[in-house]
Structures are given as C-alpha cells and as structure tokens.
C-alpha cells in the first residue's frame, strides 16, 4: 500500500508538472528565446518604431484613465453593497459580475451599438462633435467595461470581515463620513483595494477583443499594444511580435509578484 501511495504521488506530481510545463512554462520560455534569437539590437529596433512606441504609450494612457474610474467606483459600490440596505442589491451584484460572463468581442459590439455614429447616441454625439468609437474614449470605455468587477469583488469580502464597529465608534466620537472613511475604513481595506487595482491593471493592459472592435486599429493612432502585436504578426514582423509579447509578459509577471505581496499583506 505504501508503495502504491508513493507511486501515485510520483505519478500525480509528474502529471501536474508536465501539464504546467508543456502548456505554460516551456512555451513562455520560448517567446523569450524567439524575441532575442536575432540579437539584442534587432529586438530593440523592432520595438522602438514610432508605431510600436505609440501603441505602448496608448495602452498605458488608457489604463491610467480607466483604472482610477473603476477604483473609485469599486470602493464606493462595495461600501453601498455592504454598509447600506436597499432594494435591487442582488440585481446590482449580478450586473457587476456580467463582464466576467461576456465575450470581449460582444462587449466591443455592444459599445459600438450605443456610441458609434450610427448607434443609439450617434446623432447626439455627431451633433456635438464627440467621437467615441474608433477613438480614445471608445478604447477607455471598453477597458472600463472589462475591468468593472475587480475592485468591487476584492473590497466587498474585506468590508464584511472588518465589520462596522470601528466605523460606528468613530461616528459616535464625532467624526463625519469622510473622516471615518479616510481614517478607519480606507486603512482597513487598502490591501484589498491594491489587490483589485493590480488585477484590473493586468486585465486593462492586456485587453484585446473589445478594443479590437471599438478602436479602429489605426497604426500610430488607435492601436494599443496588444493590437500592435497582432498586426506585427500579420506583417511577418515576428521579432517585433515576440518582443512585444515579452514586454507584456514581463509586466504580467511583475503584476503577479505584486499580487502575491498584497495577498500576503491582506492575510
């Protein structure tokens, strides 16, 4: 029995490690090799073309706009969900989780149907000179849509856990809402918020499907980093595509490290 136990342990271990290695780790190592196989100089040149630089700049800009929106919304919404009673709470909860269940392409399409020139608000937007689709606001909207759930979902359980005794005590001692929030609630939820922000950032930097639909994909203008990588591939600029992928992968790995740090602080 002992022998069979050891055997199954070894079997399971090799299966798990083999699966992770073949599907995840070895392919990931491969993109680093592919990116630099023609030398560092070639790799550097391929990623510093004006279009490539603009694509990474645009991705950073969109993330910097979208994440603060969802952070403020996320914290406020979590407070409402946990600390107040109102009808329709279950519905709000369900809506917040919707982006998890929707294909990014469908998200792009649904934004198109409201905010494009021929969409629901098209006439009004045209008349007032706003362009949302095929422009920066559309990319931002798509990014906000896909990252709506993250901060809320991280903060709600923390708020439940810390309870509201300290908040009530602060209120009793004369603190107003804002003071209570800033001095009591915010410090208690800060690691939960950080964790949510970090995952949302990862999602925002990597969004592809929704942005592919609403951005118009114009090189040097509305092309984000992920779309630039795809276009590099279709131009047979494999080195560029692999180097771009390595840059995004490196960012993802550092985000992962940050996530683990925040998770430990939270615990």
């Amino acid at each position: 029995m002992l022998a069979s136990g050891r055997l199954s342990r070894w079997g399971l271990r090799s299966f798990a490690l083999g699966y992770l290695g073949l599907l995840l780790l070895i392919p990931l190592g491969m993109i680093f090799f592919r990116a630099f196989e023609h030398g560092l100089g070639t790799a550097f040149d391929s990623i510093t073309t004006p279009d490539a630089l603009h694509a990474f700049y645009l991705t950073g800009l969109v993330t910097l706009i979208a994440i603060p929106f969802n952070t403020i919304f996320g914290v406020g919404c979590a407070l409402l969900l946990v600390r107040t009673e109102f009808r329709g709470k279950a519905l709000i909860n369900a809506i917040i989780d919707l982006p998890f269940a929707i294909s990014p392409v469908v998200i792009g399409l649904s934004l198109l149907l409201v905010y494009s020139e021929t969409g629901w608000f098209g006439d009004w937007l045209n008349a007032n000179g706003f362009q949302i689709i095929f422009a920066l606001p559309g990319i931002v909207l798509a990014t906000i849509f896909v990252t709506v759930p993250f901060v809320v979902r991280e903060v709600v359980p923390v708020l439940h856990e810390i309870g509201d005794e300290q908040e009530q005590a602060a209120r009793t001692l004369g603190a107003n809402s804002w003071q209570t929030f800033r001095r009591i609630t915010l410090p208690a939820i800060r690691w939960g918020v950080s964790y949510g922000v970090v995952i949302a950032t990862a999602r925002a930097l990597g969004e592809f499907g929704a942005v592919a639909v609403v951005s118009g994909r114009i090189a040097g203008q509305t092309q984000t980093a992920t779309i630039w990588i795809q276009e590099a591939f279709s131009r047979y600029d494999y080195t560029g595509a692999y180097v771009g992928a390595v840059v995004l992968a490196a960012i993802a790995v550092s985000i992962l490290v940050a996530m683990n740090v925040f998770k430990r602080k939270e615990a």
Binding site: L80, A101, P104, W120, G206
Partner: protein, 280 residues
C-alpha cells in the same frame, strides 16, 4: 444634514449607523446605477434590441445558417473538452500543490495565476512560439482544432486549481487515514472520502472555466485563427460579422452566446449549492 452637529448622540443609537451620509446613500446609489448604466447596461440593452432588428426569422437565421450553427456547436464542444481537461488537470495540480512537497513548490503556486495576468494575445503568441509552424520540437498544431483546445486550456488553467486548492487544504486528513487503515485503496479513499467534499469546488471552477472558454477571443486569433468549418468559434464569427457590417446577425449570435454563459453560471451555481448541502 451636518453630521458634526449630531456627533454627540447617545450611546445607543436607535438604528444601526450605516453609511447614510457618505455623500448621501441615495446619491451614491444613483451614481452607481448611472455608472453601470453608461458602461454596462445600455450597451447590453442595445445588443438585445439590435438582435431583434430583423424580426424573429432574421434572428433565427443568424444562428441556424450553416456556418453559425457549425461554429456554435464547435464552441460548445471545444469548451466542454477544455472543462473536462481542467477537471482532471486542475484537481491534480491543486492536489500536488497542497499535499505534495518538493523544491520550488511555492514558485509553482505563484505561476498558476499567470494565465490571468497574461494578455490573451500573448497567450496565443506563447503557444505559437512552441507549437507553431517553426516549432523547435516539430509539433505544428497552429490553425487546427487542437490549437483551439490548447489555447482555451491555457487561459482557463487557474479556475479549477484555485477553486479546489483552498477546499483541499481544509479536508480532514484523519478521515483519509482512517479509510486507508480500514483497507481502502488510495483510489477508493479519494473517491469516497475526498471527492465528495471537492465536488462543489470542482463544479464552480468548471462553470467559470466554461463561461470563459465560450467567449474567448484573443488567445485564438494568432494560434488557431477563425477558419470557417475548421476552427471558427463564435467570438471569431461575431468579429467577422462586425467587420462585414452585419450587426444584427452579430448581435443575435452575441445574445445566444451571452444567454448560454448566464444559464451555465446559474445552473452550476445551483448545482454547487446542492452538492455543498450533500457534502455533509
């Protein structure tokens, strides 16, 4: 409604002091609903309305034309295959991470979340680098059904692992030892003692993986592409319909895809609750 004035209230407030004056709870609710409407609700409503633009026959035609029907079937089959793979591989990986001991385990545990952190386009590039046309190991799976399954398995990897892992940590080792000392084989012990308590977690992880798989797009673009009657999944079909301007057809297909995802999440949610009650 200055709160400073009411600050010195008595020790026992009549009602629990929630957060009614954080800018006013009603205002807060209004802002939350407004934000969700602009970002999520209005677009989804527009999607549903657009899908009915050509009437019921156009809706049905958008789903039942040969290419769409084939694509829908293939999307569901591929997602199902991936869920089965995840049930076995995910549970095995969770098991190894909780019960096994070997150098580098902590690092491996951190790596599991990589598919969540990695952009989907990078996932596709990654698979293409090893299993594409210039494969150094001589395996070229690009633009095949196998590529679709691999890409979906890549992006859904963490769901079952992360659902099962915490439950496995809580499972009582003594019950297993008792079963083993009473002569149960490791497999019987697993099936009769451990599996029942893992089932709810496996189910909920599977549901999330399935919902993610049927909508996946980015990881498939480069590695599997969307070849009609060969690798084209629904998200790819919808994307190409948007490109050709068939928004009504694309919206109809989107609504079906969304409905399937919601039904799966709902049914699996119920199943998870049911199995939680029966896990004892």
């Amino acid at each position: 409604m200055s709160s400073a004035a009411t600050g010195t209230s008595s020790a026992a407030p009549p009602r629990p002091a929630y957060w009614p004056r954080l800018g006013g709870a009603a205002l807060g609710r209004g802002l939350v609903v407004g934000y969700l409407s602009i970002i999520v609700l209005l677009p989804i409503a527009a999607l549903v309305v657009q899908s009915t633009d050509g009437g019921w026959s156009a809706f049905w035609n958008a789903i039942s034309n040969p290419e769409a029907w084939w694509s829908l079937r293939w999307t569901l089959i591929a997602s199902l295959i991936v869920v089965v793979i995840n049930v076995f591989a995910g549970t095995a990986i969770a098991w190894v991470l909780v019960r096994d001991r070997f150098p580098g385990k902590a690092a491996l545990n951190g790596v599991i979340d990589l598919p969540f952190a990695l952009p989907t386009i990078v996932a596709g590039v990654t698979l293409l680098a090893l299993y594409g046309p210039n494969s150094p190991v001589g395996i070229d799976a690009a633009f095949t059904k196998v590529a679709v399954v691999m890409a979906l398995a890549f992006v859904t990897l963490p769901f079952v692992v992360r659902a099962v892992q915490p439950v496995l940590m809580e499972v009582d080792v003594e019950a297993e030892e008792a079963a083993a000392s009473l002569g149960a084989s490791p497999f019987t012990t697993f099936r009769r003692v451990i599996l029942p308590s893992l089932l709810p977690a496996i189910l909920s992880g599977s549901a999330l993986a399935f919902a993610r798989a049927i909508g996946e797009f980015g990881s498939l673009v480069l590695f599997a592409a969307f070849i009609p009657f060969k690798t084209e999944v629904m998200s790819g079909l919808i994307f190409s319909q948007i490109g050709t301007g068939n928004l009504t057809g694309a919206a109809a297909q989107s609504v079906v895809l969304l409905a399937i995802a919601l039904v799966v999440l709902l049914v699996f949610g119920r199943l998870t609750k049911w199995s939680l009650r029966h896990a004892g």
